[in-house]
Symmetry: C2
Subunit: 488 residues, 2 copies
């Protein structure tokens, strides 16, 4: 694929570089003054970047009102991705998810939401005071993880629920598993309902086959990409793409201005500019076959190793991102234990769950491939068998199998009093906190949801296996916050 | 002042450095893999920092649930500042302001707010659906800028308004001018009302006399500091300090988790750690006299230059931050024109207004002082007189002189239809947008406020003089969004 010559430009990075090379004197923030005022201990790491860690001075544009280099960089990204407009985000996909929800859902609006969404989606719904109706998620037994929604369930929801202001979906999953979206998107658009897509793990899908198809190419109205996850962007750098006339662009921009720092980070913006350029170069130089071949090689080498297996979806209609590799112990180790063994050899993976370990490969594996395989092999050689048979005890709890609503709606929750109880005694109560193992940051239990026995068992198992939870302080001592029953 | 030896530690930075030096293999995000996958063009600037641009892997703690290095670094900051708890922010003071408001103000809660606050305060009130009652701000004729509230006005407000859930103040001003807060804070605390303080420009006040006294030392409940503004932290790095029992710490933490990226930037966190360490070293080595002496020297040298004057507050009870220097043309140039002249010599200032230019000095001026004075002198030598007498035309409009509420409350605004009209014809209507010149990001007109003739004249003058506005796209063609009158 040949792309336009203008994609060779990097307007933000180049302007910042030129600004620095012009030997500016800083009478402005930040206080490190291009790195001149900084602890000597940190200079080796910070010296380079602080030269371009600037603020909204003349010539350096303004993310919240772009007219110059930032506008051009965002347009280049929009051109590459085929969106009508692309916004650079400096507060991660989190802020993209919050803004797309606030821009489309008013207080009390009914919105269809895939149950296994990222916590930022739930936070956006809470901020907006919307009324979510949850779509149950699919499940793939091959990898043992939940996936996106089924066409059938979306169809039923659209037929039985009125006044839906938006449908919020998440695809691919954290594990890189992608469902077929084309018909689902078509069905929703036939009702003129906007589709808000958390495609955090798909910023590189624009590379084309054999990567899954992006929801953007299929017409989703807003698509959020964590550029930092799979592209060479700095952490917190993301894209929000928008197209069509179902979502008001000015409203999305309004909430992005509201929720992002009024002093956004120029290094992060410059890294988004360079990441888009990197992608464009891959396409221009026909780099995709090499990326895919290298990733395939790593999978094949991992398959040959004793002690692990590479798992893939059972359902062949699902598309697996070639850059995601899910491995599992063949010696009875949990994912958490396998992770620990790898870490002893300095291999840090993206996440572990009860069963698996997820490895994310980069767009160029040349400089990491050899070292990775060699060290994984060493790690496996040194590890014995599992001490117990804990793997067999792990049961993933069934998520609600039908379309469901919260037992206490978001907008009523402030009126209810929360009390603390032992997690074992919480079955039948309504949870006053979301329980979110992180990563992947997908809630096991939602604030306002009825607590069931399988969910309690699952949480206790996750704790025992060493999973980490964000913000669930009570859980550390086996307590949970629930809504008091007396109050209606 | 001698500080504890533990202040020599930099737990986040040191742990990240050690992690990198352990030659880790990345099977995780971000996609640049410690900088190994990155466009060659950007490497000189990004190479160093990408070695520590990591994610929540084992050993690197989690900002949203800190237990290890981040917890320790936050505690060191709390110790230095004398707060009960300090949170590291990676989305600027913006997110600190939003979180402290959401944690204290429920829908419909009445809250006292200083009128000349940063837009993030107004955004927080809108998100919370609170009912602000605005306190008019003071004015200093010497610098020609608004300052914080008067004791008298706070007293009247506390006597006449019931059920106040919080008082939100801003001090010092963007120009570094600080009011005496002690009695105001005491008066508010006598009523057990929490004080939320946007002290964005005061992160260095902990250095002590002659810097203004921090509201934290005076007992304010929540204090937000833009560490990146005056300390050597990366842009978007801020602190939120909390103390006392009037504000629920867990609630503040809840909203910070909600509003900040679930993949927060480690370089920004490490820079906050180093910035706190830098401050501690200043205190430990008795560095304050040198900082103050250097800043004084710069002011004196600037005073000697032809064509400008250094302005100071008229009211001697106001304390001016020694690191803020406000200069003004003596040749009839507007602040905006003076800014342009300086920029031609490569001196970039923090902001210009109709009258002034604001220069922010760093904590160590050694490496910038000589170059700055020399270039400013050159700039002034080369500049002629002003072509017109535009300065005389500039009139700062009177802000409301009494306690005031919005003509259309925040929580009702969604129900009203917005229409567009020429700004000249908008007098007497209610504005459907806030008009915010940036910098300083302090609204001239609030969404929901009645539009008056002096405000329209001021906006038109600012436009003519070259001020920039964030998100006021209509204004570029002299239009403004107002609420339709027919609807009640």
């Amino acid at each position: 694929m040949k792309i336009g010559r203008e994609q060779n430009r990097t307007p933000i990075f180049t302007t910042l570089k030129n600004h620095w090379e012009g030997r500016p004197v800083s009478g402005h923030v930040p206080g490190h003054k291009y790195g001149k005022v900084f602890p000597v201990e940190g200079q080796a790491y910070f010296e380079g970047i602080l030269k371009i860690d600037v603020t909204e001075i003349t010539g350096l544009d303004d993310l919240h009102d772009p007219e110059e280099m930032i506008k051009e960089a965002q347009e280049l990204a929009a051109n590459l991705y085929g969106s009508e407009a692309t916004y650079f985000l400096v507060n991660g996909s989190t802020v993209g998810n919050l803004a797309m929800i606030l821009a489309t859902c008013k207080r009390g609006s009914r919105v269809l939401v895939q149950r296994n969404c990222h916590k930022s989606i739930l936070n956006g719904l809470e901020l907006a005071g919307a009324e979510p109706v949850f779509l149950s998620c699919g499940y793939d037994a091959g990898v043992g993880v939940s996936i996106s929604v089924s066409k059938n369930e979306v169809e039923i929801a659209l037929q039985t629920i009125d006044n839906i202001c938006a449908v919020i979906l998440t695809n691919p999953s954290y594990y890189g598993i992608s469902i077929e979206l084309e018909e689902i998107i078509k069905m929703i658009h036939e009702k003129d309902i906007p589709i808000l897509m958390d495609e955090a793990h798909g910023a590189h899908f624009v590379l084309g086959d054999p990567f899954p198809v992006s929801a953007l190419a299929l017409g989703a109205d807003v698509v959020v990409h964590s550029a930092h996850k799979t592209l060479p962007a700095m952490t917190m750098g993301s894209f929000l793409h928008i197209q069509g006339n179902l979502v008001n662009k000015e409203s999305v921009a309004y909430y992005l201005r509201m929720l992002q720092s009024s002093s956004p980070s120029y290094p992060i913006m410059a890294s988004l500019d360079l990441a888009r350029y990197y992608l464009a170069c891959c396409l221009d130089n026909n780099g995709v076959p090499a990326i895919v071949r290298d990733a395939f090689c790593i999978r094949e080498e991992l398959k040959k190793l004793d002690g692990i297996t590479v798992v893939v979806p059972e359902n062949t209609r699902l598309v697996m991102d070639p850059l995601k590799v899910v491995i599992r112990s063949t010696r009875g180790l949990s994912g958490f234990d396998l992770q620990k063994i790898l870490e002893k050899e300095g291999i840090f993976v993206e996440l572990a769950d009860a069963l698996n370990v997820l490895i994310i490969l980069p767009l160029s594996v040349k400089r990491v491939k050899h070292d990775m395989i060699e060290r994984i092999e060493r790690a496996l050689r040194h590890s014995g068998k599992s001490s117990g048979e804990q793997l067999l005890q792990v049961q993933v709890p069934p998520f609600p199998v039908t379309i469901s609503q919260l037992a206490i709606p978001l907008r009523d929750q402030q009126k209810h009093e929360a009390v603390v109880c032992r997690i074992e005694d919480s079955v039948g109560s309504v949870s006053a906190e979301s329980v979110i193992p992180y990563p992947p940051g997908i809630p096991v239990l939602l604030k306002g949801e009825l607590i069931t026995k399988p969910v309690v068992d699952y949480i206790l198992q996750l704790k025992k296996l060493g999973a980490r939870f964000q913000g669930n302080d009570l859980l550390k001592s086996n307590y949970i916050s629930i809504y008091k029953k007396e109050k209606e």
